[in-house]
Symmetry: C2
Subunit: 384 residues, 2 copies
């Protein structure tokens, strides 16, 4: 299968590229390297010392004898996106090429608009180019479980049948996103659903939980590492706790810590995206998959990190801090997760087993986390 | 009350400005005149020979002794929007300053992106400027009934309480918009709902039906006329039929003509917006109002236009044509309309009585419609 990965330089994009290539797919990547710049803007960097794309490509070819193709470019430039899709005519596009940070989008109006226009225009350009040049191409788009918010009812996978005033219909599940970034993903979902309807495109919209960890089978040497962010904007809850433990800082759950979300290990995210790519929806289908291993509250996560880091001689403490976000801190949370297991998804490790891989790996890069530790504590507030 | 009208040069903006001013409010308008340019791009023009903004302002002052303020500028320019809201600190902003055409947005990727970014960024800029400079300002935002699509259940006003798998919640009603333009309005609605939640802003999001007609009490002379579009992109169903009747062309419902929507006369739209502005929601409230007089199918509309134009000696015929859009042509449609009547809204005329005002007025401008009649028949197709 010819797969194009938008955002191949990213946390998920790079490991997915290697995994799909290892499975024999023909992989081409696109990136504009904005993530590297956007993390620098917040005076942070990846805990792992990642290589430049050209060094990554060389290292991968040296190790495996396989070649990954790559184009540098910006998906919001309509002509660029049109041209690469016209040239490559991929069977599948995995679209990870968006700005993925809630706090970054909440900094101010410029970051809000940058996040929303970048994500919406990039996705629209891909949709129009698929329609024009590769109408059978499967668009595998990364959304987020955060699109749903935390409703007081179960969360189905995208759609639900309801009865209202004695009549029935199957409707998109209402979205209640919690940041300008999460809103951009909701906007994308609506746009993609519409494109599938009017043009008969096939798309999988993945509502992904929070990704954590740093290990995949193909990341066999330091020059093949993916990035690992730990700052307030780009580091996600579990990864941030691991980084805090490794440098001997308190783990800082926000507020009451009852905020519950779905979490998924990096290797399982790669597994799920591969399953979805290799099992595409039918023409015209807009398929929504909820993608996570298990749900945890933030306090649960912190306790698991304390426990596992203790096994590595770290005496981690938990210190709750004021919540910079506006979110329910105690709530019902019960999302469905049936479609990916039906495609064959099996979580690889339980949370503790995965933490036993993440923490020692991070300990190796302790000095890099130390160097940017000022970037961990939250300064960006939802109320402005 | 100090009211700012974004998009004061438009079909609704201009009559609303005069009406609010006549009621004693202090009105300031903003426009970048993009509507005039965008209609020209499609080789059309307003049936009514509208004046420039400076002539309108002078004519209004001459007639009434009252002054309307006006700034020319583009709401997508963050500094401009920030500056005018900082200077004016309005009590209410009526936001009509968006690109409102479904077919225009469907032309190609550039028109899709232009419509979505223009509408989203303009609204975001207003939200951030209100938060910063006028947090008590009521944002009265024009959305569209088209945000809801045509579900097989009743359409409540924004939110509904549902039971799902034995649990209950009150959730935003799912949106199923039918064009890139309608999607932009859904994106706005989600963004505004979020701003109200995190910052405690007060907003009314009006889900407006299709507006028709040309008469309001304040439009007392030709130099105070508002625009009246009749082409495929900027003319809405009923107005287009009136224009077709006036030049002796067949009325052209799309497809089976069973497409049913809410319709509202221009004067009633002005009445409703005034009611909403004068009865603001409370701080932090995101209030959704469904705003229309009655629902009609496209075939019903055509029959009403045939009947009333007959009273003026016009022998109009109906000629159904292939539907350029992708939409259900026979469907359930039952939207609620309770909140505006509770605020005092009373439809002024029934459809025929309003048509008896629109059609003779348009007959006066028959030659202007003739001149651009090539722009009426649909060339923009939803399937591309």
């Amino acid at each position: 299968m010819k797969v194009m990965i938008m955002g191949m330089d990213g946390y998920l994009g790079w490991p997915l590229a290697m995994h799909l290539s290892a499975r024999g797919h023909n992989v081409t990547g696109i990136d504009n390297f904005s993530r590297r710049r956007n993390v620098e803007e917040l005076k942070s960097h990846s805990a792992t010392p990642i290589k430049s794309m050209s060094d990554r490509l060389k290292a991968y070819q040296r190790k495996t004898g396989k070649k990954l193709d790559f184009y540098e470019g910006d998906l919001t430039k309509t002509d660029f996106t049109d041209k690469i899709i016209a040239e490559e005519k991929p069977d599948c596009i995995v679209h990870l090429g968006e700005i993925p940070s809630a706090p970054f989008s909440m900094i101010d109006v410029e970051h809000c608009n940058y996040t929303q226009t970048n994500n919406i225009v990039g996705t629209n350009n891909i949709l129009f180019a698929i329609k024009k040049h590769a109408p059978k191409c499967h668009l595998l788009k990364l959304g987020t479980m955060g699109e749903y918010g935390t409703p007081n009812i179960d969360i189905p996978e995208g759609f639900f049948e309801i009865e209202y005033r004695g009549r029935k219909d199957t409707l998109p599940f209402p979205r209640q996103p919690g940041s300008w970034y999460h809103l951009s993903k909701v906007h994308d979902s609506h746009n993609i659903m519409f494109a599938c309807k009017i043009w008969g495109l096939a798309s999988t919209d993945i509502m992904q939980g929070v990704v954590h960890g740093i290990v995949t089978d193909e990341m066999t040497s330091d020059d093949l590492l993916t990035r690992f962010d730990f700052d307030e904007a780009w580091g996600t809850a579990l990864n941030r706790f691991c980084a805090q433990a490794v440098i001997g800082n308190e783990l800082t759950p926000y507020g009451k810590g009852g905020q519950t979300r779905g979490y998924i290990a990096l290797r399982d995210s790669v597994q799920c995206m591969t399953l979805a790519a290799e099992n595409p929806p039918k023409d015209g289908e807009y398929r929504v998959l909820n993608q996570f291993d298990e749900t945890y509250s933030v306090n649960d996560l912190a306790k698991h990190v304390v426990k596992v880091s203790g096994e590595f001689g770290i005496d981690a403490k938990i210190w709750s801090i004021e919540n910079p976000r506006l979110e329910k801190e105690e709530h019902y949370y019960h999302p469905d997760r049936e479609k990916l297991p039906a495609l064959g998804f099996k979580p690889t490790n339980d949370l503790d087993a995965e933490l036993r891989l993440t923490i020692p790996k991070l300990m190796k890069y302790r000095s890099r986390i130390e160097e940017k530790k000022e970037a961990i504590m939250p300064k960006i507030k939802w109320r402005g």
